[in-house]
Symmetry: C2
Subunit: 225 residues, 2 copies
């Protein structure tokens, strides 16, 4: 737990981290519209987050707006991209070309943000050789061969739950640093491998919670995510 | 903003709300294994959350473990189900039967938790009449007729982004109370309609953030979700 020698950004509280992608997306929109500056009040209005919260969040990465002037959009965007690790390209492999895998592979937004699916694997021989999002679907038995010959940082797991832990192990064994898991089980991975679970059920439970409790905007990160 | 007369559960901080589904899922597992009691330390160990955080979270809904005894699993589960709104059944319609819609419709976990997709709509005439997850795919022009004749609480939007705001408007106009949005745009809905966005990109950005910063377990809610 050597918190002392961690980079300062890793001390950002989870709540702030959760809002970073929200800020990021909105700042990209502003930047595309050539907006130069934005105040915390305007940002707050657009995102349903209080201006005080925004100023507090931004202070974590050392960005302070000027009174009566606000924040510079491009500067803020560059900082947030750096913190989010978006100043580089990630090579990805996708394992599982079922409905969910196809949906992920076809999602347009990823590649332009630097997330590039380079190879797709599936255990179903009927899918072998088919094209999906510009990749040929390969047999999953070829996964190790591919990972040895290519530099891959992220593995996306969209297999049935029965297969996902094994695939996770195989990806980790070949040096993949991050795993994006769409299967509905908690995966175990070595400490140096980051696992991000994408669970549909949690989102649905948040919906039912909010329907039950009718909170108004207590959850900017999920409400605008 | 009449926070005073809201139910006490709506005062639960967002961080706690984010962890509720994590607790819920693990307690279901324990319950299925006939585990009667669990201490905050054991829960913490299993979920990567500190025991103090767990005790603090549980105190929000008035559940206090006994020293040296812990929490009763079934009691805790009943409380969390109540707070999450899982003590009832939700009727859902799904609009959009593309890759993502098919993935959602085929997801096995929802129905057993009370989320029941009763009808599926798509604008593609080629899909009309096909079966998906036990439903016949209907033309989206029939959406209003269906919603008038049936009691539906939740609408799931898995359409292309161009169509999603219109579908959201149509669902809200016919009295749907909650919208689960898979399209990559921020939807506007009337205040009484709860919108839960399910954005793949945000999850991927959290992954790259964590790879960049290699935080150990700062994010129990997303890490275990």
């Amino acid at each position: 737990m050597s918190t002392r020698d961690k980079k300062k950004t890793s001390g950002i509280p989870e709540g702030v981290v959760g809002r970073l992608p929200v800020y990021y997306r909105y700042l990209v929109e502003l930047s595309e519209k050539d907006t130069q500056r934005i105040s915390s009040a305007q940002l707050g209005e657009a995102l349903g987050i209080t201006a005080a919260q925004i100023r507090s969040d931004f202070s974590y990465f050392g960005s302070f707006g000027q009174q009566g002037y606000g924040y510079r959009v491009d500067e803020l965007l560059t900082q947030i991209k750096g913190i989010l690790g978006l100043d580089r390209t990630y090579h990805m492999v996708l394992v599982g070309a079922g409905n969910l895998g196809r949906a992920v592979a076809s999602y347009r937004n990823f590649k332009e943000r630097g997330f590039d699916i380079r190879a797709i694997f599936d255990s179903n021989p009927l899918l072998e050789g088919n094209y999906l999002a510009g990749c040929i679907i390969q047999p999953v038995s070829r996964l190790e061969v591919y990972l040895e010959a290519n530099d891959v940082q992220i593995g996306v797991i969209a297999t049935p739950r029965e297969a996902s832990q094994e695939i996770c192990d195989r990806l980790a064994a070949k040096g993949v640093q991050g795993i994006w898991n769409f299967s509905p089980i908690r995966l175990k991975a070595p400490d140096h491998v980051v696992v991000e679970h994408m669970h549909l059920t949690e989102s649905l439970l948040r919906l039912s919670f909010r329907m039950r409790n009718r909170t108004e905007r207590t959850a900017p990160a999920s409400e605008h995510s």
